[in-house]
Symmetry: C2
Subunit: 148 residues, 2 copies
DNA sequence: TTAATTACAGATTATTTTGTCTTTAATTGA
DNA sequence: TCAATTAAAGACAAAATAATCTGTAATTAA
């Protein structure tokens, strides 16, 4: 069974949403994030390292160190996280796995699926972390209850 | 990187589309299908076996044996193939991997993504093999050129 | 300066998915 | 009947993905 994003990417999105609801001068350690999102610490660490490479997240080593958003939430779009972690292949490849799928030589789902895929791309491009802050706050706040 | 369907499912959809464009009394061997779709024979075999279990595809052993559609193309919906191979998890699980994602306790993308997911589900439910026959014929006919 | 804490880097393991191989049973044509 | 051919079944191998572990460098507080 397959989902739209890899686990890595899901985790990256969760982590970044988490950073976005915290005061911007706060350093969150991988351990803190891990605890609150109930996800493996080392995995968090790995993924956030990747996001620091592309300048979405910043980091500081040492005691009191941790991760933080390197830009204002209003300037970070979901698609940037997806692109960094999974790449944009999902939005390019044929949904049925046919080679050479294009408007000239479309697969049977090319048009219908293409439309949905474009919508998804648009959604991820339009949403910034700023717009999701409120609902992210709620969801992450409720996490401790969900796990039960 | 991840797509909506697993490779197995892509392959199953291709194979079934292939069967649907052939005369209904013809037995196609895994080897024939494999050759024309340029996909591994054993994998084809595996996946079609699964589809015979759920009654979408029929099979006959022995010389002149092979696979065929067990129903009329107008009675086979894409969603049935997807359900058999990948299950319907994609249409149920949270796109961000949050636990307990529901209308009561939605993730930040719940509504927007939910809408797209429903559209995709609808598309797969509405399309029968019969409706895709023409475009499948074209696409599969062109395959030999695409590979070059 | 030292001890503690953290990100970083890379190796390693585990799991899942994908793909192959081997053997068996059914079917058919010679 | 016999040889060839095919799906079926399951073991097996390879590759991709997910997750863990280990050691190092940076930073800070004491």
């Amino acid at each position: 069974m397959t989902v739209i994003f890899s686990k890595k990417c899901e985790l990256a999105l969760q982590a970044v949403l988490f950073l976005s609801i915290k005061p911007k001068d706060e350093f969150l350690s991988a351990r803190d994030i891990s605890k609150e999102l109930q996800l493996p610490k080392e995995f968090i660490s790995k993924v956030l390292q990747k996001l620091t490479e592309t300048g979405i997240v910043g980091s500081k080593k040492g005691k009191t160190g941790g991760f933080f958003l390197a830009k204002d939430p209003s300037e970070i779009r979901l698609i940037q996280i997806v692109e960094t972690i999974d790449g944009l292949g999902v939005f390019e490849k044929c949904v049925l796995g046919f080679p050479g799928c294009s408007p000239d030589n479309p697969c049977p789902l090319h048009n219908k699926w293409g439309h949905l895929r474009d919508e998804a791309f648009k959604m991820l491009t339009e949403f910034t972390l700023a717009e999701l802050k409120d609902s992210a706050e709620k969801k992450i706040g409720n996490l401790k209850f969900d796990i039960l």
